[in-house]
Symmetry: C2
């Protein structure tokens, strides 16, 4: 799991125990021996879009780790106070500076190995001018055959793009719930 181990209680700062807290719970948690706070760690939601213009999709070349220099759909960790669609739109603005009309819920991918769920929405690009933020080296459009399939940053990006182009050929967009081993 890409998650830092909890060593101290967030409430009182005391060194925590790692044990099953009881009360019906069956999993080991960080439990504070002083104030009793149980520290739950749960999967994170990553939200993004498949921005398209005609038969092209927008990809961003990552300027940050992990996967510096690899291509990705605009996506990032969902924040408190926003809906999934709002988070996906925010990430699209931040990473690509793209202007979009948000479309349908498209893919939801569980990745238990890293404790994440990635969700992508379709998004129609209003035009082909982009203004990538500091997290992207470049943002540009690709047809299916132009997509750098061997230089994509994440499995969920490849799986989502494959389904996007397949659905587009079929003339109908579905919703795809996929588990990534």
């Amino acid at each position: 799991m890409h998650r830092h181990t909890i060593q101290h209680c967030r409430t009182c700062g005391v060194t925590v125990d790692h044990r099953v807290p009881g009360d019906g719970d069956t999993r080991e948690r960080a439990v504070c021996p002083a104030c009793g706070t149980v520290h739950y760690v749960n999967p994170l939601l990553v939200v993004g879009t498949v921005p398209y213009l005609g038969d092209q999709v927008l990809l961003c070349k990552r300027a940050i780790e992990p996967r510096h220099g690899k291509w990705t759909l605009p996506a990032g960790f969902m924040e408190l106070g926003e809906t999934m669609a709002q988070g996906a739109a925010r990430e699209t603005a931040e990473e690509a500076g793209a202007e979009i009309e948000m479309g349908a819920f498209f893919s939801a991918m569980s990745i238990p190995r890293v404790g994440q769920v990635h969700v992508f929405y379709l998004a129609r690009l209003l035009h082909g001018r982009f203004n990538p933020g500091h997290e992207s080296l470049e943002a540009r459009l690709f047809t299916e055959s132009e997509v750098p399939w061997n230089d994509l940053a994440f499995t969920t990006v490849r799986e989502t793009l494959q389904r996007f182009f397949a659905d587009r050929r079929r003339g109908q967009f579905g919703v795809h719930d996929v588990d990534i081993a």
Copy 2:
């Protein structure tokens, strides 16, 4: 937000600052002045099922807070190391002791007010015998007109049940992405 404020660093126990950490981030986070750890707090995923048998759905009467005594679909916080569907199946076993065949992804509901996303899967009940766990007072089947609409525990349960019965009447189940104000 139903989230405890972070007062101490999980890595070293020092009292944290609450400030924008810089490096392109624009949100206030708990930042450790000693070791530099940035403590992100993100929305939580709740996963559950709509267990059905013919024209009936299974609801559980909550034996725990919040909403003790109110009726809910089986659902709970997704855990590390599982897929959304695995988490939904686990909660259905834990809260209702129901035997199911997992079905399609059905609803995904953002609730920005509490920093949660609730996801429900359809689940066909193999039979009508249940064995509710310690989190449920009772588990039983309801037709649409029997559902205790005014005694449901959560808005997302009501919204999901309404869409389930509407889709069932229509003869086709969709996927519902809904924002709860």
